[in-house]
Every structure is written in C-alpha cells, then in structure tokens.
C-alpha cells in the first residue's frame, strides 16, 4: 500500500514533468553558450547565419548522359518537377541570360555610379590619352565577330563604364554556360553535364525535412531516368546530404548499440537479481533525474541547449551506481521483506557518493561559460532527484528478498578477500600504482588534443568525393575562407567593404591569394556611387574629349549624341542593398551578407590564400573586419570549451576533496575517497597518450563522468571499510555498477562514429580502471581502516 502510494506520487511527478517538457520543450543549438560571457558574439551570429543563408540551403545537381542533349532534356524535366515541390524555394537551371538582362537593366542606367572602385583614378581613366586608347580598342573590337555586342553599347557608353561592371560581375557567377542559344539550360563548360541549383525552404540541417526532400528528389529522378532507359546519371553536392547521412548513420549506430545495451543489461540483471523488476528499479532514478532536470532547466532558463541536454543526460547517467549499489546490498543482506537493517549502513555512502558527484558538477559550472553553467545545473538537479528516488522511493519497492544465490555470495566473498589481500600487499601494490601514475603523468605532455569538429563524425568518403567532383564541375571551391565586415548599418558596412575589396585586390596582385568573391562587385557604398557620378559628370569637356578621341579613330562624330544626352540627364539615386536584393540579381547578393540582430555582416569569399599573414596585414586597420574561417572558428570555440572543461574537472576534484574531508573529518579517508579516481584520470590520459589516441572535448566530458563514478566507488569502499564490515556486498555492487556502465556507455566504443566512440572508450575503460584501482582506497586508509571479517560476525 505504502509502495503503491509512493509509486503513485512518483507517477504524478513524472506525468507533470512530461507535460511540462512536452508543452515547453525548446532546445537550441547556440554555440554562444560555449563561449565565455562577455565575448564578442557577432562572429558567432555570423557563423550561425551562414547555416541559414540561401547558399547553405542550395544543392548543386549535375545530370550527365552519354548524349549531353538527353542530359539537358532530363535536367529540364527534373527542374520542372522540383519547381512544383513545396519543399523547394527556388530552382535555377538557366538564368544566365536573365542575369545578363537584369545586369543591363540595373546597372546600365547607373554605369557612371559604378565606373571605378577607386575614384582617384577617374581623371586618369577619362583623360584624352585614355579615351583615345579606348576608341582604338573599340575599333578593334568592332572588327571582331563579337563586335556587334560592342556596337550596341558604344553610342551611350563610349567611356566603357558598363564593360567594367560586366567584368566585375563575371567573377561572381559559377563557371557555366547555356546549352545553346535556343535553350538556356546551364551546362558545364565541357557541355558534359546539365546543372541545376536547388534551394530548399528548410535549413540544410533540419533532418526530417531534408530526409523527406532527398527521398523525393531520388524518387523523382528515378522516375524520369526510367523513362530514358536509365541513361541519366545524377550527382549532387549540398550540406543537407551530409546532415541526413550523418543522422541516418547515427540512428543505425545507436540502434545497434542500444540492442547491445538492452541485451547486456537485461542479461546482467537476470543473472544477478533473477528479476527484471530490479532493472525497472535501477532505471527509475535515472529517468526521474533526467525528467526533473529537463523541466527544472526549462523552468529556470526558459530553454535548453542541445549540448546541455545531451551531455547533461549522460552525466546524470552516473547515478546508475546508486540504485545498483542499493540493490546489491539488498540482494546479499536483506533477510525478510521488511528487513531494512542494512540500509542505514549503505545510505551514507550513497549520499556521500551523490554529493561528491554534485560537487564535481558544481566545479564544472564555476566558469563564465553559460553552456557549462547550464550543463552543471542540469546534472546537479538530475543527480539530486535521482538520489532522492534512490533513497526514498526504491527501498519501499524492494519487496521480498530474492532466492538465495550462493554464487553471488561466494563471488562477493572472493572479491572482498581479494581486495583485502591486495591491500595487505602494500610493497607490491603501492610501487606498481605509483609507477603507473608517474608514467602516465610523464606521458601527459605528449597527449594529442584534437579540436577539429569534423573529425568527430565519420564522413562517408563516397559522399565527400561526389561533393568535391560536383563542386569542381561548376568551378566552386569548398575551402573558401571569408572576410567578414561587421557594422551597425548597411551603408557603413558597404563603405568598409569597398575598402576591403580594394585591399584584397592589391593582395591578390601581390600573389597573397588567388581571388575573392565580394558584394563589392555588385554594390558600392552610396557615398562611392555618388563620388563616381560626381567625378564622371564634372570631368571638363568630357563630351568633347570623347568625340575627338573617337573621330580620330574613324568614328562618326554624331554617333555619340546618346552619350551627351545621358550625361545631361539627372543621375538615379544610389543603388541600395535593399534595391539590389529586390532585383533579379538578388540571388547573387543574398549569399554575400548576413543580417544580424544588431547590424549586418558582409561576406567576401576568399580562395587560394597563399599568404594568410599578408592578407591579414592588408586588412589591418579597417574597423569591423575579420578574416574568418567557419571551421577554424568553431574549432577554436570548442578548443576553448574543452580547455575550460578540463580545468573545471580539476576544480571539481578540489570541491570533492573538501566535501569528503568535511564528511570524514580525517585526512586518510578523505584522500582514500579521491586518490583512486585521480589515478584513473591520470592512467587513462596516459594510456591515450601512449596509444596515440587523439583526445577531444567528448573525452574530457566523459572523464568527468568517470571521475564522478570513481569517487563513488571509493566512497562505497571507504564507508564499508570504516564500518569494519567485509567488502563482499560492496564489491558485488561495484562489479555490477561497473558492468552496467560498460553495457550502457562502454558499448558506444563499438560505434563507427568517433564522437560516440570517444564517450564509449573513455567511460568503458574508466569504470574498469575505477574497479581495478578501488583497492588503492584501502591502502590509503591504512591498516586501521581495513575491513574486518571479525567485525562482520559481530555485526
């Protein structure tokens, strides 16, 4: 009856927590949470914005066939079907001529405003010798087959302003051509592949939406390919393919790992406790802990960060030791259904174990990084909730003692005696332990830290090869860095961007980089446009100079009347960013800026940087300008997060030491509770160093888990020893704790994904080492603190 009421109350709590979580669940993945408070987060906002720009949502599809004409026809049909797909925002299949026309419509009336990005050169560009050279060049162009294009523009633009704009725009588009003059379908320069640019509505990283879209795309293509006897070949590039492949791969991996976990734990509990009820009891504190931590975090913080939820839930997994420890003692020491005489002896160890874990989590949170604070809060709340369930909910639910298991008693006896024997062999054990720790410490400086996030996930090599091949076909490099210009308003940003473009051009001329793609090629700052207009129109006797230069080159003087009229007409207002975005060229512009909450970031894509120092030097002194590489930036953030986490683990150890010192009020037990765990941390890092394992943030967070469990193991041993009790039940509990953890976390080491493997290896190895180093606690306690079999018989 009492158990029923308790279960009812717990059920009500879990129901309320579930309701709260369902109604208020809001998980973000904001890496600003991983940066120290007060950091300049503008670049983080840029980094975040880059994942949602149309460029990041755009796939490149190439369709090939033995007969290119069939590929073009297939691409045309695929484009039509994709345009009808509600998941697709836009399909660009042949906008080349539209862009040319749009460029003419937008820039030709403003050709003087965009005459030169260096107005100081305008007098020279419009000097009589320059115009004479221009006229001679125009005459030579007229003699060429392409001269008919020149001829159409020349009467209104004899100074060659529009060709200068066209030359700038040419650097922005992909290296593609129309199939022919009757079909604007874009094809690669070698005419072998038709090309489509498909922009999805959903972010590339929205797993479900992208999974559905890619399935749709595959089915659509398969249909039209079947109609052409399988003659077509589709290849694609896009971030969404990697996101979906990673998700699919992790799902498969997790399914495999979960199967091993469930199978292992079920077998373990059936063997150890001969009931699955015990398994449910062990799970209760963890489930409650995570549920309470989730809804408390939502109530306190309003939302949860994805990393907080993931790592926090893993850290709360540490509490599995408490119910397992409790059940092991019940299994071996409970005589009747109501016998709880063993509980007062076990409870202090569990409480201390939980509080040492809480202390280590608090240590993790004493930092200015919001993500770590949230992670610590989540783990502390979860741990305390799980402790409360272990202490107050589980005991009434234990029920009658299980049938006797002699093997378990014998195993416990053997383990207890083994521990005591090891503790008695100080001369052998102490030098071995100290030498191992010393060796591990010596290896620490050689530890290889890996903060490159891309190494955390296994990328499908064939997907990567296809990506690179497709991007190469359309002339897109995927190693582009960015120059980011930050400003509070577009006008200021554009002015800075003009300066950046000039300086990058100088750096390019000196060989520091191969090229760049800038919004500057589409848009000058209004002030620069006005300066251009003013200088061109105020050039003394410009009409006369033009006429004389061209007449000297054999042109009729009256041919340039349209130029005279254009100069006399009032200039248009400067082109603005909004105006550009609203034009048909907006799709080109939208990939080159990111609106921010407070201001704007303009992006210049740089490629082939040979001398980064020279590029940085070229950009020096321009306010709000950063040379930015998304991958490097994120890696730096995570490296900082990893370093801070590592130092906070050390802080956690100090807090744990203080706590156990307060609890035991003696040095030896306090050290006995902490030293084995420190050994494990040292030895594990030493092993990683020795084996050349590249360690990362996930190893560090996992080490914190291991430390929490290791301290728990030591506390259980120290408490049992101090009570002068044999270690039989405690050791059985530790072995079960260890095996449960190996099955729940250790099996992750079988994952194909480096990230999951890091967690599995660290935790699996760590808990095994924690079990093996548990005798160190007895050694530190000294002979007076040893357990006593005589005491057991007395007790």
């Amino acid at each position: 009856m009492k158990a029923g009421r308790i279960l009812g109350a717990l059920g009500a709590v879990l129901f309320a927590a579930t309701f709260l979580v369902v109604t208020r669940f809001d998980v973000s993945t904001d890496i600003t949470n991983l940066m120290p408070a007060g950091s300049d987060v503008s670049l983080v906002a840029v980094s975040r914005g880059l994942t949602t720009t149309p460029l990041a949502r755009t796939m490149i599809l190439t369709i090939g066939a033995a007969d290119p004409a069939r590929a073009v026809a297939g691409a045309r049909e695929l484009a039509a079907k994709l345009r009808a797909n509600p998941a697709v925002e836009a399909v660009r299949s042949g906008a080349e001529e539209d862009v040319s026309r749009a460029a003419y419509d937008l820039y030709f009336p403003r050709r003087y405003a965009f005459f030169s990005d260096d107005p100081a050169r305008i007098p020279e560009l419009l000097s009589e010798p320059a115009l004479e050279a221009r006229a001679e060049a125009a005459r030579r162009e007229l003699a060429q087959p392409s001269g008919m294009l020149t001829k159409r523009l020349l009467p209104e633009d004899p100074i060659g302003a529009f060709p200068r704009i066209v030359a700038r725009l040419a650097s922005l588009g992909p290296s593609l051509v129309p199939w022919d003059d009757t079909d604007g379908q874009l094809v690669t320069l070698d005419h072998r592949f038709a090309v489509l640019f498909v922009t999805t509505r959903a972010s590339a990283f929205e797993g479900r939406a992208q999974r559905l879209f890619l399935a749709d795309l595959a089915a659509t293509f398969a249909g039209l390919d079947a109609n052409r006897d399988g003659a077509l070949e589709l290849e694609a590039a896009g971030a969404n393919r990697f996101a979906v492949a990673a998700e699919r791969s992790i799902r498969a991996d997790v399914a495999f790992v979960s199967l091993l976990t469930v199978g292992g734990v079920v077998c373990l509990f059936l063997v150890a406790f001969r009931s699955l009820r015990s398994l449910a009891l062990v799970g209760l504190p963890i489930v409650t802990g995570i549920a309470v931590a989730t809804c408390t975090s939502l109530l306190v913080m309003g939302r949860l960060d994805g990393i907080t939820l993931g790592f926090g839930a893993a850290l709360v997994g540490v509490v599995i030791d408490y119910p397992v420890h409790l059940l092991a003692h019940a299994r071996l020491e409970q005589k009747t259904a109501d016998d709880r005489s063993w509980l007062p002896r076990v409870r202090p160890g569990i409480v201390l174990g939980a509080f040492t874990t809480v202390a280590s989590f608090v240590g993790l949170g004493i930092t200015s990084i919001p993500g770590l604070q949230q992670l610590a809060f989540f783990a502390v709340v979860g741990c305390l909730a799980a402790l409360a369930v272990t202490l107050f909910v589980l005991p009434p639910l234990l029920g009658a003692p299980s049938p006797s298991a002699h093997w378990m008693e014998r195993g416990g006896d053997a383990l207890g005696r083994w521990m005591e024997a090891l503790a008695a062999h100080r001369r052998l054990f102490v030098p071995t332990a100290v030498a191992s720790a010393a060796l591990a410490a010596a290896l620490l400086p050689h530890l290889r830290w890996q903060d490159d996030l891309s190494t955390l996930w296994r990328m499908d090599p064939s997907l990567l090869a296809e990506e690179q091949q497709v991007r190469a076909r359309v002339g897109q490099a995927d190693d582009a860095g960015l120059v980011v210009v930050l400003a509070s308003d577009a006008e200021t940003a554009l002015a800075r961007n003009d300066t950046v473009a000039r300086r990058l051009e100088e750096a390019r001329a000196q060989g520091a980089l191969e090229g760049f793609r800038s919004l500057h090629d589409l848009l000058f700052a209004p002030s620069l446009q006005q300066e251009n207009e003013r200088l061109v129109r105020s050039t003394p006797d410009l009409v006369g100079r033009v006429r004389r230069a061209y007449v000297a080159a054999g042109f009729r003087p009256e041919a340039f009347a349209p130029f005279e009229q254009a100069l006399a007409s009032p200039p248009l207002p400067p082109l603005t960013l909004d105006g550009l975005v609203a034009s048909p060229l907006g799709s080109l512009a939208r990939t080159l800026f990111v609106p921010l909450e407070k201001g704007i970031a303009l992006l210049t894509q740089v490629r082939g940087v040979h001398d980064e120092a020279a590029v940085r030097a070229a950009l020096a002194g321009v306010p709000g300008v950063h040379l930015f590489q998304q991958r490097r930036f994120l890696n730096e953030v995570f490296a900082e997060f990893r370093t801070t986490t590592l130092s906070q683990v050390a802080v956690g150890y100090v807090l744990v030491l203080v706590l156990v010192a307060l609890r035991y009020r003696r040095v030896r037990p306090a050290l006995a509770a902490v030293v084995p765990s420190l050994f494990v941390t040292l030895i594990e890092l030493g092993l990683f160093s020795l084996l050349g394992v590249e360690t990362n943030l996930l190893h560090v967070v996992s080490l914190d888990m291991v430390a929490g469990m290791g301290v728990d193991y030591s506390v259980f041993v120290v408490d049992a020893a101090r009570s002068r009790q044999p270690l039989d039940a405690t050791m059985v509990g530790l072995v079960l704790c260890c095996l449960t953890t190996v099955f729940t976390f250790g099996v992750l080491s079988l994952s194909v994904h480096p990230a999951l493997r890091a967690v599995g290896t660290t935790v699996g190895l760590g808990v095994l080492l924690s079990l093996l180093t548990a005798p160190i606690a007895l050694l530190v306690l000294g002979p007076k603190g040893r357990p006593s079999r005589e005491g057991a018989s007395e007790g």
């Binding site: 040319s100 030579r140 003699a143 060429q144 392409s146 051509v177």
Partner: protein, 198 residues
Amino acid sequence: MAIALAPRAGMALELDELLRRMAATPGVHARFHEVKEIALLAAPLESDGEIFFVPPRRFARLTSAPAPTRFVIDGDRLSFRDEAGGQQIDLARSAVARAVADNFLVLWNGDAAGLAERYTAELDSSGERWRLVLRPRSDRVASVVKSVTLEGVGARLEEMQLLEPNGDVTRTRFEDVRTDAPLTPEELARAFGEGGAR
C-alpha cells in the same frame, strides 16, 4: 580538289549533300579580306587575315591587319586575344557571342540537325556553285544577326555576308581556300597557340 555538288530535285537533299561534303573536309585553311560597313564608322573597316578549321569544333580567325588579333573556338571554349594590348577574355558566358561564333562552325561541322534547329536555310545552286542564306530562329540571335549569306563552289566557301538588323553589313571574301588536307602542325600551332597541334 574540287568537289562536285550536283543539283538535286529537293532542297533538303541538296543541303544535306552540301553539309556532308563540307563535313568531310579534313581541315580548312584560307586567307580572308573582310569589309565591315558600320553606321558608327565614317569609313568601312577593313581587315585581313587567315582562318583555320579543324573538324569538328576547332576554329581560329587570325587578323594581320589593321592589328594582330586571334579569335579562337576550341571545343566549347571561346577566346579573343587582342595582341595590340588587349587581354584574353572568355566569351563562353555570352549566349549571343556563342551564337555568333557558331556561324563559323555550323556549316563546316556538317551538323544538319543543329543547323535546322538554329536557322531557316534557303539554298540556291547551279552546278557546283551554291548560295546559302541562313536566318536565325532565336529572337535573341535575330536581335543581332538578321541573316548570314554564304557562297561557294563545291566544298569551298568563297564569301560570307552577315547582315545586321540596323543595316550594318560584314562581307568576308575567302581566298587561297584549302579544304583537301589536314592542317600542318605549324599551322595548328599558329592558329591555336602552343599545344595547338594536338
């Protein structure tokens, strides 16, 4: 080598036959003299030079006067080098420029389907002498080219006249036309630059 082009009953057959024989040439080399009558210019613009064609899609037009220039279609790449001080430019992005350039190829590469897709064609022939008038089907090309008239004897092109919508006209007279032998390595290198003899 003179190639006979016998008049046939149907124009399509005659055109097919012309194209087949033109396409059968292993290479073309000729000198040209071109006169452009352009409204912008006070006097006609004259130029001299050579043309080279290697089937199926390599073409070069080199001028020697009034200034050295090189216009090349090599496969799907087009370039123009103004050796009087200009620089190489990629014309491949311009559909119109491509269409104009294709005028040079459409006849020699014997692509009857391509010709029919791009132009309406009228062929008059008398014995081996023929006159082919091409009018672009595409509005975009028609905005810059009204018609192209080609005249020749057998597989030998003798004159090309390009008429623009504004009345400007370009007349190109070909001389020393050689259609019966592949281009020599020296000619290929001269036409297409280093590595051109592939």
